[in-house]
């Protein structure tokens, strides 16, 4: 059998030099924002029990998870997300602490994508979870933190906000079976007007049907809420709309204009979202760079019924965007090479440290002879050779 000695698995890669620097800078900026907002860092294991992610409504299909077993044959997965592990952690070891808990993380998540699609199976994510708080103030805290992360790291972005309660209130009054609801949901999610209409044409006319028919197109500025309010008069959906309007108006104080939009058609499959849901986009990246929302229902699955909300930033995408025009594709080279005469090695190392302390880009030469060092310096483009002796 051919050994896969020289390649990495599909969907993974080695990160080199400026890629690491770019990613590190972005992570530092975002970490500083999280810390300044009072969040504390936690790490969760890379492998977790499969059961954690196979809960009903978790939204992770078994095909997309990397699996292995433990020494008792129990199924393990490489975490496809950090929210569920942190919810587990909060409901167990942190249960007796004062709430709200402000937690942040920076760790990779894994997804077994279909082959030959050019997608990453390993993605660096940073995010926060605010556990034990509900209401507008908590939602604004989460949303403005997400906006801060974007403002600090990318030039042009859109953040769009929806409400899981809006769709749920509309379909609740349709009196149709769960399979039909799922078909409606997935048509709205993919903005598939034709298939949505085929499903709705079979249902009797009602204000809900009219409203749902329009959902895939209900995204944009505040006018979207006004339009939706017209056909949601007196329904439960109206509450979610009024709440969204309030949030939108509060956020408009930030003066971000059309960077903040409303999308009433955000209907994620992860049923664990119960309140606001939001995603952020950046020009040049074909997928959302941030996604998050409120997931109050989820915490009850861990016998810890409390409000919770959070979001995750895809660090790899943001690092890539920041690198796009700055990629050098050359190996890093020092400016000064410090060579030691025989017996003066330690002295030369100390000299190198002095130079570095003065802010110079110097390294200690590990070549056995001066000639070899000189050859290397000429080929690699080192500006200066310094010899230490006597």
């Amino acid at each position: 059998m051919k050994k896969n000695l020289m390649i990495t698995p599909e969907g993974t890669k080695d990160y080199l030099f400026e890629e690491c620097i770019s990613s590190g800078k972005i992570q530092k900026k975002i970490k500083d924002i999280f810390i300044s907002r009072g969040y504390s860092q936690v790490d969760t294991p890379c492998i977790e029990f499969y059961d954690l992610f196979s809960m009903e409504d978790s939204g992770f299909s078994q095909e997309t998870m990397f699996k292995t077993t433990d020494n008792r044959g129990r199924l393990l997965v490489m975490r496809p997300d950090s929210t569920l592990p942190i919810a587990r952690m909060a409901a167990t070891r942190l249960k007796h602490l004062n709430t709200p808990l402000r937690l942040f993380y920076g760790q990779s998540v894994y997804k077994n994508n279909p082959t030959l699609k050019g997608r990453s199976n390993e993605v660096m994510q940073m995010g926060i979870e605010l556990i034990g708080a509900t209401g507008k103030r908590a939602d604004l805290e989460i949303l403005t933190t997400a906006i801060d992360c974007l403002s600090a790291t990318v030039e042009d972005f859109r953040i769009e906000i929806g409400h899981a309660g809006f769709f749920n209130a509309l379909v609740e009054r349709l009196n149709v079976d769960p399979d039909t609801i799922e078909a409606i949901r997935s048509s709205i999610e993919s903005k598939n007007y034709s298939s949505l209409n085929i499903i709705l044409d079979k249902l009797p006319d009602s204000p809900q049907v009219t409203a749902i028919r329009k959902l895939p197109r209900m995204f944009g500025g505040e006018e979207v809420i006004e339009k939706a309010l017209k056909f949601c008069n007196g329904t439960k959906a109206e509450n979610s709309l009024c709440y969204l309007k309030e949030l939108y108006q509060d956020l408009s104080i930030l003066g971000l204009g059309d960077k903040i939009t409303i999308d009433l058609g955000i209907v994620q499959q992860t049923n664990y979202y119960s309140g606001i849901v939001f995603t952020a986009f950046v020009t040049g990246i074909g997928d959302p760079v941030i996604s998050g929302g409120r997931y109050d229902k989820l915490m009850s699955n861990f016998d810890f019924p409390t409000g919770a909300a959070g979001f995750a930033v895809n660090i790899d995408y943001i690092a890539e965007i920041n690198l796009k025009d700055r990629r050098k594709d050359t190996a890093p080279v020092p400016k000064i090479l410090v060579c030691a005469k025989d017996g003066y090695e330690i002295k030369a190392i100390q000299k190198t440290k002095e130079l570095v302390a003065q802010g110079k880009n110097a390294v200690f030469s590990v070549f056995a002879t001066y000639e070899e060092a000189k050859d290397y310096a000429e080929n690699a483009g080192v500006e200066e050779i310094l010899t230490v002796g006597e």
């Binding site: 279909p114 699609k117 050019g118 859109r158 769009e160 993919s190 903005k191 598939n192 007007y193 034709s194 298939s195 895939p216 197109r217 995204f219 944009g220 939009t261 999308d263 986009f281 950046v282 020009t283 040049g284 990246i285 074909g286 997928d287 959302p288």
Partner: protein, 210 residues
Amino acid sequence: MQPLRIALTKGRLEKDTIKLFQKIGYDCDSVVNKGRKLILPIGNGEIEIVLAKAADVITYVEHGVCDLGVVGKDTILEKGESFYELFDLGFGKCKFALATQKGKDLYGGYKALTIATKYPNVTRRFFEDKNMDVRIIKIEGSVELGPLIGLSDAIVDIVETGSTLRENGLEVIEDVCPISARLIANVVSLKMRKQEIEALVDLLGKEVDA
């Protein structure tokens, strides 16, 4: 401003789409007389047409290197993953169907069926919905041969007029689903370039409905 980039499935869907663009007032001469070029500006250059094979249209749109795409529902069902399906363009109509030799009782008995097809994902989903285990064999062309030379019990394929089936003694025993050309959009493009895309979709929509 970058032009709006639209990927078209080469061949008949390309011609029908270009006719539609001409009707709503775009100068499409560059596509009509394209030579061997693959990226073609139309109108005043505010739109760029990219010509591609059907499955590649989806790939380009999913990765966001094209903002919009025109592709058959058949390819969407077989390859589709994450994009917005905005619009049924109404042309390129045909259907997926299950077919076998005329008069054959396909569902009789308890034998596990073998199905030949160019569309294994569509076929798998169709039989999964029926709670049936079938063996699927992927064929690259002339799927009709499957039952005729004894490779499979039946086929799942695109049927337009049904004349190829008839000439080979096969008949449709069940429709799988209807097919037509669709306008698809990249998830981020639709958000970042909402006005442009909506204006275009409205124009196309009025023309298709007319």
